[in-house]
């Protein structure tokens, strides 16, 4: 739990969240959940090995019915590991929830949710190549954006540097260190 923003800090939360909380709680009976409140959506976090179970429950529960995976991404919290973030939406019920899974740097591995939302396929591939998180059971674990032979560089990790900028101005400038 790296981010635990104080709720009173935010003034522009949209709507009343009690209803969606009860829906999510009903759907996820028996699954350990940590609650947070974000700016627009409610946030829950589940354990790594329960993500598939929780996803299925969220999708199949009649009241929750989160059938649409809006986005799947990860955040590198450096020393505190990484978090994988699922933004879910229900097209029929028109409500949102954000699901988070926290991973420690030692085991960057979690089960795939492609069986629940096929939309996760490419998004998980992107997260895998950009953050080095393994999605076990992924049907097509190739690189998505980067060349296929690159498998040890993870550009979106915080310790990955930006490329050097090629400076064209140096040539013919005629200044050296002492003038600066």
């Amino acid at each position: 739990m790296t981010t635990e923003p104080a709720e009173e800090q935010f003034t522009n939360q949209i709507g009343d969240h009690t209803e969606i909380w009860s829906i999510v709680d009903n759907a996820l009976l028996g699954i350990g959940v940590t609650r947070e409140t974000g700016f627009m959506d409610v946030i829950i976090s589940v354990e790594t090995d329960e993500i598939v179970e929780a996803s299925r429950a969220l999708r199949d529960d009649e009241d929750a019915n989160f059938d649409y995976l809006r986005s799947l991404t990860a955040v590198d919290n450096m020393a505190d590991g990484m978090e994988v973030v699922y933004h879910l939406y229900s097209i029929s019920k028109k409500h949102n929830v954000t699901v988070k899974v926290f991973l420690s740097n030692e085991s960057l591995r979690l089960p795939t949710v492609t069986s629940i939302w096929p939309a996760a396929n490419w998004l998980e591939r992107e997260v895998a190549e950009m953050f080095g998180i393994k999605f076990s059971g992924h049907p097509d674990p190739r690189n998505l954006l980067m060349p296929e032979e690159i498998d040890d560089t993870f550009p979106l990790r915080k310790d990955h540097p930006l490329a050097e900028i090629e400076v064209l101005q140096g040539e013919g400038m005629g200044y050296s260190g002492e003038e600066l």
């Binding site: 981010t3 003034t11 522009n12 700016f39 809006r70 986005s71 028109k94 939309a119 998004l123 930006l162």
Partner: protein, 380 residues
């Protein structure tokens, strides 16, 4: 009649055949940028298709993490160059949500007008490119560019740039619109309406166009939702989802307009949904123009360097191609800790395999055209 025309005999039993790998792209007239797909074709029928993306990957997300909030706007423009106002809108609204900024009334109306105009110009681009994909020699393309030119001229007069506007800022818009803005928009809307009429009579009823597009690349509502499609491509399957209405942002809930949905989810519905959506856009803009009143366009107290408290937000808007979301995490300070762009094109493109397999080679091209990808948004 169709059954009679498209019957083909089952040849596989008679001959031993070998499938042919057909590489389309990255340089190909109909891939709309640098996109590559490898098709396995059996005669003229596509048996498998493997898309390859990433040729235009520039790391906009990583760059945004090293830029302050104002500098990031320029990179957002470049993730979606055909609808840069919509891309900026998601980004600045995410920053506003994090920094708790109140956007003045006038700025909101200006933002709405410009993003809807941008939707028009982007859909014109789609119509043009799609018309050429179906094989009309250049006519729709030039019609589209003619109308888009008028729109882009207007954008240039407002923001100073033709494609990379950098005009929306956290808190409002950078500077006010020109004095004759309302008249100019009306003028442009008139020409756009004429352009839509041109397209309607050129393509929408043409028998060959209908024969080519109807029943091709159909996808059911369930599969479209499961594959994460969004925007007109999703609505064409009959899914009634429009973020502008379902989770209203700006002032969309104060206006009268309709959400267009299709029934069949095929190429033609994806095309025709967009055409009708353009007419709705015109309706929205005309209503916005009536409500545009003088006033400030940035909040009273704007800090010179914007800083946000820690927090995170997933801000989504309805861009021309679908849901354009910005997931922004702030750990305090003047720059985002993580800025993820949820690209509608990426998710729509995922459906390509399902849409294409079993169709003809020629259909593969128009299916790709009909989901209207912008490769810079796919790759970011």
């Amino acid at each position: 009649m169709v059954e009679v025309l498209s019957q083909t005999s089952d040849r596989s039993a008679e001959f031993e055949t070998q499938d042919l790998l057909l590489n389309v792209g990255p340089q190909h007239p109909s891939t709309h940028g640098v996109f590559r797909m490898v098709m396995t074709v059996d005669g003229e029928v596509v048996r498998d298709v493997i898309p390859y993306i990433g040729y235009l990957h520039r790391g906009a997300e990583k760059l945004c993490e090293t830029m302050d909030f104002r500098q990031g706007i320029g990179f957002m423009d470049r993730t979606e160059y055909l609808a840069a106002f919509n891309a900026e809108l998601s980004y600045v609204m995410a920053v506003e949500a994090l920094a708790d900024l109140e956007v003045p009334e006038r700025a909101q109306w200006i933002r709405m007008i410009l993003s809807e105009l941008n939707r028009l110009s982007s859909h014109f681009m789609f119509l043009g490119a799609f018309g050429v994909d179906t094989g009309v020699f250049g006519t729709p393309f030039i019609y589209a560019w003619r109308e888009r030119e008028a729109l882009i001229d207007l954008f240039e007069e407002v923001s100073g740039d033709r494609m990379m506007y950098a005009y929306f800022r956290p808190g409002g818009v950078a500077w006010d619109v020109p004095i004759n803005f309302v008249d100019r928009v009306k003028e442009v809307l008139k020409s756009s309406a004429q352009g839509i009429d041109d397209f309607d009579s050129l393509l929408s009823e043409n028998e060959i166009f209908l024969a080519r597009t109807q029943g091709v690349g159909a996808i059911s509502a369930e599969r479209a939702i499961a594959l994460g499609m969004s925007g007109p491509s999703l609505r064409a399957s009959g899914v009634d989802m429009d973020i502008r209405r379902d989770e209203p942002y700006l002032k969309y809930d104060e206006l009268e307009w309709d959400v267009i949905t299709g029934d069949h989810g095929d190429v033609f519905d994806r095309y025709y949904c967009r055409v009708l959506e353009m007419r709705e856009s015109i309706k929205i803009i005309s209503q916005c123009l009536d409500r545009l009143a003088p006033g400030p366009i940035l909040p009273e107290k704007m800090p010179r360097m914007l800083r946000t408290p820690p927090g995170e937000v997933y801000l989504r808007t309805e861009a021309p191609r679908g849901e354009y979301g910005v997931y922004m995490v702030s750990r305090g300070g003047n720059r985002p800790y993580r800025c993820k762009v949820r690209s509608s094109c990426l998710s729509n493109l995922q459906a390509l395999h399902e849409l294409t397999v079993g169709e003809y080679v020629a259909d593969a091209i128009i299916i790709l055209g009909s989901i209207d990808i912008v490769l810079s948004e796919v790759d970011r």
